[in-house]
């Protein structure tokens, strides 16, 4: 790290000295992008740069600048929209005030655009410096044709990366920055712009996470803790029930001497082929209070809505349904791996007189755990974020007002709670955003653990 930093400092110094000694063309270009290129007859490139600069200036003057200015005033808007009685015309005049939401959103957009512009500017100056060098060496500057062919060779990565990264920037990065910033505001149903503005509150929302207790209404921290604990319990059960049941079934199917292997496998795999939302909605209706399961069993249990014993029944039912959904995937995966266990392991063990149980615990299981270890962690993270199963089965419910507040319900995971907080009629975007950040921290730390251990990350050139 230290070395890199030093290199960076040197590069900057180097850069400044280069600029100091650069030609007039380059110096012009630093103010009016592209002029240098045009002076050296690189017209397409030059006019392209010039166009970008003009577009950028127009954008800043007519759109982005005003929002950014308001952002830098320190508050997300100061003037609330109001209606003022106008004596002369005898009507209420609408005075359009600030909109915190738009100020924040467009400020983020503008900041990203500014960064992109700076990148283009650096590219422009670098291009000019390269031209200087070529002229000093007595060569001519690149023609358009040469530039174009460079794009298909040494600069091909730029061509390839541009569109995918642009998509990512607009639909993932900018929204994410925006939502992360929301975590530091008080943007909720009491502060919905334009009627009411919201503002920065620093780390207050995060501090709320640690405020537990029950003073009148249940505090956010208490509710968070309950949902968090259930999320972890759910993830543990969902992951391990699927894993071990799937492995046992796969072992049974793959045991030698068992016939119709394809038939057994197909029976389970059919569930995978039907889209998850279909199977889950179907299950929801089967398990409904008036559903077919109660009809067949002659019972009257509200499988997904019973609030007794801290909503124990729905919680168990969800885990069971998840077994039904998830086990086929494990079977598929384990079958593949079981076929790959080197057969001499088993044979050696058998010759040594090991029985089936011993072989399973001493050879098969350790081998499976070794191979699928990273997969288990990925599954665990996936289950923490398993929106579909919860949302389609119970919708997070049943509602239990004695034990929950802040719109959380008894089978809510952090993700479903987040979703409800943002889509409810009384949204609490600030808390939703805090929850999102927490989910990110959990899944990021777990995923990094897997990623650093998986060999495909380290040895990417092994097979070339």
């Amino acid at each position: 790290m230290g070395k890199e930093k030093k290199g960076g400092v040197n590069a900057v110094k180097n850069c400044f000295s280069q600029i100091g000694h650069s030609s007039l063309c380059t110096k012009f270009s630093m103010v009016f992008m592209g002029i240098g290129q045009i002076m050296r007859k690189q017209f397409v490139k030059g006019f392209f740069y010039l166009f970008i600069e003009i577009a950028f200036i127009l954008y800043m003057v007519f759109f982005g600048g005003q929002y950014l200015a308001k952002l830098f005033e320190g508050h997300l808007g100061t003037v609330t929209s109001t209606e003022v009685w106008n004596e002369e015309t005898m009507v209420y005049d609408k005075i359009v005030g600030d909109n915190s939401f738009l100020i924040l959103l467009y400020s983020v957009v503008t900041l990203v655009i500014i960064i992109a512009f700076i990148a283009v500017w650096v590219l422009n100056v670098k291009g000019n410096l390269a031209n200087d060098r070529r002229i000093a060496e007595g060569k001519s500057v690149n023609t358009f044709k040469q530039d174009f062919s460079a794009l298909l060779n040494e600069n091909f990565h730029g061509v390839l990366l541009f569109l995918p990264l642009l998509g990512l920037l607009v639909f993932t990065v900018m929204p994410l920055i925006f939502m992360i910033l929301i975590a530091f505001t008080n943007y909720d149903y009491q502060h919905l712009p334009p009627g009411r503005l919201f503002d920065w509150v620093g780390f207050e929302n995060f501090i709320m996470l640690f405020k537990t207790g029950n003073s009148g209404a249940m505090l956010f921290g208490t509710v968070f803790l309950r949902v968090f604990v259930w999320t972890i319990i759910w993830a543990i059960f969902a992951t391990f029930t699927n894993y071990f049941l799937g492995m046992v079934i796969a072992l049974m199917i793959n045991k030698k001497g068992i016939r119709f292997k394809a038939l057994w496998r197909t029976l389970f795999v059919v569930v995978i082929a039907v889209p998850q939302f279909v199977t889950l909605l179907l299950m929801q209706k089967i398990l409904d209070g008036d559903g077919i399961l109660n009809v067949v069993l002659g019972t009257n249990i509200r499988w997904l809505a019973d609030t007794r014993w801290n909503s124990l029944i729905p919680r168990i039912v969800i885990i069971v349904v998840n077994i039904w959904i998830g086990v086929p995937y494990t079977i598929l995966m384990c079958s593949g791996i079981l076929m790959n266990i080197p057969s001499d392991f088993n044979e050696a063990a058998r010759i040594d007189g090991a029985n089936v149980v011993q072989i399973f615990f001493k050879i098969t299981l350790p081998y499976m755990l070794h191979v699928t270890g990273p997969h288990l962690i990925t599954q665990f993270v996936g289950n923490i974020n398993n929106f579909n199963v919860i949302w389609l089965l119970t919708g997070g419910g049943p509602i239990d007002i004695n034990n929950y507040a802040h719109q959380a319900q008894s089978t809510d995971l952090l993700v479903t709670w987040l979703y409800r907080l943002t889509t409810d009629t009384n949204p609490q975007y600030n808390f939703a955003s805090v929850i999102g950040i927490i989910i990110f921290i959990i899944s990021a730390s777990l995923s990094l653990l897997t990623y650093s251990k998986s060999s495909s990350a380290k040895n990417e050139e092994d097979y070339q």
């Binding site: 995918p164 059919v270 990623y451």
Partner: protein, 302 residues
């Protein structure tokens, strides 16, 4: 098939010396396994059978499912007829096909482009970029949904299928991982030979890499084609015009939002679910070989 043959060979070769009691034990345990597998198999397949059965149930007046086998049971394709004539299902189906086709084209392109760049080309920001993409993928998708909604609104794209295509393929670059893993395994010497022949990078990508990557390309196409069929969350946020629903949202709303007509709709919902299920199953069956190859080649490397 190969594995089974091997197992059979094993059975012939090994046990001759085994005692009779061992043989009995083995038969008994096999019998037990058959019973367990059959029971579990039935449990697993039963809900699907129930889905098919309900979709075929013609219940003239209400459609309330309060008996599994009512006395005046009638089976037929009435629900399917209703699905295609009384509901907007055909429209939703068309929407989904359009969105799925466009977004799978775009996202496959994006994934291929970014995977190739990260796997085959060496440039300064490569490693940092890979790390950034990794981290970005760990944020829950719903978190940014509201902001995406407003960005689309600012672009004037709300309530349009085009917005859906953009949203689905905009994040595609994040799932480069499997495809890059595949590209990593293609020998470099092939490309070097092409470079010596004077090919540029684009030609190499199109003429060397793509033909060698058929399994992973089909895998990518398949996964990105299926995504719009299953997602109802983003559709629900971006689109509120019934005309522009996709099948997933349409079916979801059919039995969830319109609570009062749930019972009436349930048999029709089952018919719709069967149609969607059949389409996906057909896709999987035809592409199964590539799908498995794709999963195993890119992901599992010990």
């Amino acid at each position: 098939m190969k594995a089974e043959a091997m197992i059979n060979k094993d059975r012939v070769a090994a046990p001759k010396k085994k005692s009779v009691s061992m043989k009995v034990l083995n038969t008994a345990s096999n019998a037990l396994i058959y019973v367990i597998l059959a029971t579990l198999g039935v449990i697993w397949i039963l809900p699907i059978v129930f889905l098919l059965y309900t979709s075929l149930r013609v219940t003239p007046n209400t459609g309330i499912i309060n008996q599994l086998f009512p006395e005046n049971l009638q089976l037929g394709f009435g629900n399917y007829v209703r699905l295609f004539s009384d509901t907007m299902f055909p429209r939703w189906l068309a929407n989904t096909v359009i969105v799925a086709a466009c977004s799978c084209l775009l996202s496959t392109m994006f994934v291929l482009m970014i995977s190739y760049a990260l796997s085959r080309l060496r440039f300064k920001m490569r490693k940092p970029l890979m790390n950034v993409l990794l981290v970005l993928g760990m944020f829950p998708g719903f978190m940014s949904m509201i902001a995406v909604y407003f960005i689309l609104k600012a672009m004037g794209l709300l309530n349009s299928l085009f917005a859906l295509v953009l949203v689905y393929s905009g994040g595609a670059a994040l799932s480069y991982y499997i495809c890059k893993g595949f590209f990593d395994t293609i020998p470099k010497s092939l490309e070097e030979a092409a470079i010596l022949d004077g090919a540029n990078r684009l030609q190499i990508l199109l003429a060397v890499t793509v033909p060698l990557s058929k399994p992973i390309i089909i895998y990518t196409i398949l996964t990105s084609f299926i995504n719009p069929w299953c997602d109802f969350i983003f559709v629900n946020t971006i689109i509120n015009d019934r005309e522009k629903y996709t099948v997933a949202l349409g079916l979801y709303k059919m039995i969830n939002a319109e609570k009062f007509s749930f019972n009436e709709n349930f048999t029709v919902f089952c018919a719709g679910a069967t149609v969607v299920g059949a389409i996906i199953v057909a896709l999987f069956m035809s592409m199964q070989k590539y799908y498995v190859e794709g999963v195993t080649s890119g992901a599992v490397k010990g």
